[in-house]
């Protein structure tokens, strides 16, 4: 009976994971279409009527400037993926590198420095810190990315450090050291590859966090400077909602909700599949 329940649960998890994957792939294809120039290219043209209702010409209606909300919402998928990919890759890489060094050199100055730095950054309220960095660097096209990478790496570093500390006392690592391989090679060839499951999950979590943070920063005027994003659309909608026009708000909110839902389902499924306890079932 217990086994049956567990089996059903696992099935449910995998179904939700599959749903998440489908959603993510759908959005990814949209982003590819925008990158390729097949969709969303007319996002900046202001050639419609102000606040036109959704219809065959304007699928999601138009905004105050007469811009096509559908085009803008679709182009924003590209913005979301660009930020998600750049931030998740770089913050995961940075966190993995610093965490690996800290774990390999545990209880040394290098370890202490990385832990101190991560502790200091973690002690600052997250959104306040990201907003402050983005504000300070405003004018630089990559200000928002730098702000996010500067904060996202700490969690990955802590996890990578713990995993490396665990792995470095394993026999295959001891053997590698015994035959005289240099530390960097052992780390690169034998240790880090064994932390990939953690890094993969962290990357997916960072991806979601980056998209959410971008929306918040753009809403505050500290995010995307030249282009469009769901955050900018939501910021525009604050004025439109007052006037009784919800198309911009709904389009950006629903697209954001769906993409985040997909990523959350997918990362949950990844987490479960990499969980040894689940694997044992």
């Amino acid at each position: 009976m217990a086994t049956e329940i567990l089996a059903r649960r696992k099935m449910r998890i995998s179904r939700s994971g599959l749903t998440g994957l489908v959603i993510v792939i759908f959005f990814f294809l949209l982003a590819v279409a925008v990158w390729a120039g097949w969709a969303g290219q007319n996002w900046s043209a202001a050639d419609g009527e102000r606040w036109a209702s959704p219809g065959s010409t304007w699928w999601f209606g138009t905004n105050q400037l007469g811009q096509d909300i559908f085009e803008r919402a679709v182009y924003s998928v590209r913005t979301a993926f660009e930020i998600g990919i750049v931030v998740s890759l770089l913050s995961t890489a940075l966190g993995a590198a610093l965490g690996a060094v800290a774990g390999w050199r545990s209880n040394t100055l290098a370890d202490g420095t990385v832990l101190w730095l991560a502790g200091v950054l973690d002690s600052i309220p997250f959104y306040l810190f990201v907003a402050a960095v983005a504000f300070a660097l405003q004018g630089l096209p990559w200000a928002m990315h730098v702000a996010m990478i500067a904060t996202f790496w700490t969690a990955t570093a802590r996890l990578a450090r713990a995993e490396v500390m665990k792995i470095k006392s394993r026999e295959f690592v001891l053997s590698a050291r015994a035959i005289g391989l240099p530390s960097w090679l052992i780390l690169m060839r034998h240790v880090l590859p064994n932390t990939l499951h953690i890094l993969l999950i962290q990357a997916s979590i960072s991806f979601v966090a980056a998209i959410k943070t971008e929306v918040i920063l753009s809403f505050l005027g500290l995010g995307v400077q030249d282009g469009v994003s769901w955050g900018l659309m939501l910021a525009e909608s604050t004025q439109e909602v007052l006037a009784g026009h919800f198309n911009n708000f709904l389009a950006a909110s629903i697209m954001l909700f769906l993409l985040l839902l997909g990523f959350n389902l997918l990362s949950d499924a990844l987490q479960d599949s990499f969980d040894p306890k689940q694997a044992a079932l």
Binding site: S44, A46, F135, Q138, G139, L232, Q239, L242, A243
Partner: protein, 619 residues
């Protein structure tokens, strides 16, 4: 509380007690009302309250810091200025306030002699001996202007008189010693002032109607020190009861001079003002309101909802509500249900919004090579031709802004309603032809950097601008945003000539087109007020000649010629004067103003009908 607590158990006793309580309340109310009505001529024995919403808050109540409309509103009510603007006359006209008449000006236009009304006192305050406000003297004005030039004050109004009054700048350079006299700024006696100018400055009288020129008593400044910013001691129509970041409460100054209100003197026009019930004010002595409750509500939705909920008597309607509020835009007409409850006024701003080309940038402005210079002018003119003013007006100003050509806005007396409108008419074919004729094509067009402080509206204006230029074939990727976190950063950048296209608004300090002409006067180039860095010898020559002239048809013609020069040089995409939609309860007889009259209108707010807000308790 006590009364209600004993109501149920013992009815006969309760009835007695209730009667006693009601009698006590009635007695208190009658006493309170009597106390106030005794000070109000023609009053109907009610305590009058006016609740006004402002979309920003002043950071200081010191007139030396009255640099924005919010601080100015309070400064001119808590303090006295020598002059003010007539309540109803348009174009705006200067009217003596504390002065006993218009200044006597010497024939060379250099010496102004101004008399002060007798019997004016500062409010009672601990700063004075025995706490009793003393009489205001001409020397107080001298002190107040000196204070503007004292570096310790960190005053923001210095620019109004800098280089204008004989000896004032030297007084500052010599250490701002208040014992030291200034040759050009003298109190001849307690009620007579004399100002000697370095050169004729016809706008001087306007500067004396600004909050910056409000008269403060030295005792209070020294008594309160830093606290003076929140502890005003003036002679204005109101005194402060409470002030914080959320609002302020002003109470009628019972000692304010009694001057009967004259409809004729204030510029009353039955055709324009008849529906506001102002004729009933004839002969009454302002201020007509006992208490003004100011709410500082920056958020549009909150301000609007508070007004609809009846918590405010006046509101500036958020732009996003125009469609809901207005039945018709031209002329602005209220929806029927709202019109039953509220008066409406479409208040044209005393300024304008314009986008300047940075003429010191050789990619778009002046170029040392004459040929390229001609090409750059053609490019600027093509951009101006591509600009769709009706669309801009429709999207951002709901079609009730007033688009006009050049740099003399409609609020200026020198505005010419008959002038040529071609510079604000869209001409896409003309723009394309101009580009082609001068060898511009998508490949060689320069990258334009459009600067703005980061905000939704500014960004949308940029996107619209990019869209306009797209219609003449300007590649969108060549029109880039240059964003700044704050307006301060943006201003710093354009004052350093780092922004190619500068969009700013200018609110006139006084109703004289000189105030906008100086925005394009060569010597005022950045970091001065000429953010276009525009240089034209003919323009500068006309400016120099006209700036010392009194208002006259000749001066108006010169201003209009200067306007033409700027338009012909295609130095700016200009402009639009915004209209503010102001609503107020029909219970009030008043005509609000956000322009030159500004805060001066508070003294004329009258609680006209029985439905208006009154209280029966001492606040």
């Amino acid at each position: 509380m006590t009364c209600w607590g004993k109501l149920n158990p013992v009815i006969p006793f309760t009835a007695k007690l209730l009667t006693l309580c009601l009698a006590a309340i009635a007695l208190l109310a009658v006493t309170a009302c009597d106390d106030r009505s005794s000070a109000e001529p023609g009053a109907d024995h009610s305590y009058r309250i006016y609740r006004h919403a402002m979309d920003g808050a002043p950071s200081s109540l010191d007139p030396a810091q009255a640099s924005n409309i919010y601080a100015n509103f309070l400064a001119v009510n808590l303090y006295d200025t020598l002059y003010r603007y007539k309540y109803l006359a348009r174009p705006y006209q200067v009217e003596p306030n504390l002065a006993d008449g218009l200044p006597q000006v010497s024939s060379d236009g250099l010496i102004y002699t101004i008399g002060i009304k007798p019997g004016v006192h500062f409010i009672d305050d601990d700063a004075f001996p025995n706490g009793q406000g003393r009489a205001l003297r001409a020397e107080d004005f001298v002190y107040s202007i000196k204070r503007q030039f004292d570096p310790k004050t960190r005053a923001q109004g210095t620019w109004l008189w800098q280089g204008r009054i004989v000896g004032l700048d030297e007084w500052k350079e010599n250490g701002s010693d208040y014992q030291q006299d200034i040759p050009g700024l003298k109190a001849l006696d307690d009620r007579t002032l004399q100002i000697q100018l370095v050169a004729p400055f016809p706008q001087l009288v306007h500067t004396l109607a600004q909050g910056y020129s409000a008269i403060v008593p030295r005792e209070a400044v020294e008594h309160y020190g830093q606290e003076f910013a929140i502890h005003p001691v003036g002679s204005g129509p109101f005194k402060l009861q409470r002030f914080n970041s959320a609002g302020a409460v002003l109470l009628r100054n019972p000692g304010f001079r009694q001057e009967p209100f004259s409809l004729e003197a204030e510029g009353f026009d039955p055709a324009l003002h008849g529906s506001y019930g102002l004729d009933a004010l004839e002969g009454l002595a302002p201020p007509f309101t006992d208490r003004i409750e100011l709410e500082f509500i920056a958020e549009d939705a909150s301000r609007w909802n508070a007004f609809l909920a009846g918590e405010l008597d006046f509101v500036k309607v958020p732009v996003s509500q125009f469609d809901q509020v207005l039945q018709r835009r031209d002329p602005p007409t209220l929806e029927a249900t709202l019109a039953e409850k509220y008066h409406l006024l479409a208040n044209l701003e005393s300024g304008f919004v314009h986008t300047d080309f940075n003429m010191s940038d050789s990619k778009i402005g002046e170029h040392p090579d004459p040929l390229q210079n001609v090409r750059n002018r053609a490019l600027r003119c093509a951009i101006i031709k591509a600009f769709d003013w009706p669309k801009r007006n429709e999207v951002f100003y709901y079609n009730i802004g007033q688009v006009f050509p050049g740099i003399i806005p409609p609020a200026a007396p020198e505005f010419d309603p008959q002038q040529d409108q071609s510079s604000v008419k869209r001409d896409l074919d003309g723009a394309r032809a101009l580009l082609a004729e001068h060898g511009w094509n998508p490949a060689n067009l320069p990258v334009l950097e459009y600067g703005f402080p980061s905000s939704v509206t500014e960004r949308q204006m940029f996107e619209q601008f990019r869209s306009f230029l797209g219609d003449i074939g300007y590649p969108p990727e060549k029109i880039r945003p240059l964003t700044f976190a704050t307006y301060g950063d943006y201003a710093k950048a354009y004052l350093n000539r780092e922004v190619m296209l500068v969009t700013t608004g200018w609110t006139m300090d006084y109703p004289d087109a000189e105030n906008t002409m100086q925005l394009f006067y060569g010597p005022n180039a950045s970091p001065g007020s000429n953010s276009a860095n525009y240089q034209n010898d003919e323009f500068d020559r006309l400016y120099q000649s006209s700036s010392s002239m009194q208002s006259s048809p000749l001066r108006t013609t010169m201003y209009r010629n200067m306007n033409r020069i700027v338009i012909d040089d295609c130095a700016t995409i200009s402009g639009v004067s915004r209209k503010l939609i102001l609503l107020w309860s029909r219970n009030f007889r008043m005509l609000p103003d956000r322009s030159f009259v500004g805060g001066f209108f508070f003294r004329f707010v009258h609680t006209g009908s029985p439905g208006a807000t009154t209280v029966e308790q001492v606040p």
